[in-house]
């Protein structure tokens, strides 16, 4: 299955991309997506348990993801 990982701000800089299509085995969680990203070149600067939103809603690390999900890795927010 394939999910779209979105990266922003310092995380996009670290991985050199703001959008990655990831192919993963079935029965996958947010944590698995983060682990995959952290194993990529530049990915080691992502924290082990970053803030994540699945389909634009904040999600826990053990939430399941399914094919087609948009998984956004959210750096420390700095609005205002």
């Amino acid at each position: 299955m394939t999910v779209t990982a979105l990266l922003f701000a310092s995380y996009a800089d670290a991985l050199g991309s703001d959008r990655l299509e990831l192919t993963l085995a079935g029965d996958t969680t947010v944590r698995d997506v983060v682990d995959r990203l952290r194993a990529m070149p530049g990915g080691s600067s992502l924290p082990a348990a970053p803030l994540v939103a699945v389909n634009q809603t904040y999600a826990s690390s053990d939430q399941r993801v399914v094919s087609g999900d948009e998984v956004a890795i959210i750096p420390p927010v700095a609005g205002g």
Partner: protein, 151 residues
């Protein structure tokens, strides 16, 4: 009651927001403005580039405003957050709240800005007078600690 929120890429028109929330039924209007200041953490700032997870930021700001309106019973609430390249003194966020009474107007305004700081997916890259730039963690909270709040 009226509630409106927007993520914009143009200057925020403060007078227009005040006019939008104004009516004779309310005794108090509170406006909060966030703007780009010239020093941060001891470094001389030249400007800030704001970026966002666009659609989610729109949704979160609307959700914050709805929660605020329901909780504090505000009459009118307008909040705009600006993205793009801002210069010193530019308004990055404006929150206008009208309520029959001042205490609730202040509390509602404070609620919106604090929730924005906590959960709106917006980032800023600060440019400095010395030519360098850096991503800012405005809340200064260790990142993994923040993530735990959602788990």
């Amino acid at each position: 009651m009226s509630v409106r929120t927007a993520i914009v890429r143009r200057a925020i028109e403060v007078a227009a927001l005040l006019a939008e929330v104004g009516d004779m039924a309310n005794g108090a209007t509170v406006i909060f403005l966030g703007h780009v200041r010239e020093m941060n953490d001891g470094r001389a700032v030249s400007g800030i580039e704001y970026s966002a997870y666009g659609e989610m930021a729109e949704r979160e700001l609307a959700a914050i405003a709805s929660e605020c309106a329901a909780h504090f019973g505000v009459a009118h609430l307008v909040a705009e957050h600006r993205l793009g390249a801002l210069e010193l003194g530019d308004v990055s966020i404006a929150i206008a709240v009208a309520h029959p009474h001042r205490a609730e107007a202040y509390e509602a305004s404070r609620f919106v800005i604090e929730e924005v700081k906590r959960r709106l997916p917006i980032w800023k890259r600060e440019g400095y007078v010395d030519g360098t730039s850096d991503w800012v963690d405005a809340a200064g909270i260790a990142h993994e600690q923040r993530a735990e709040e959602w788990q």
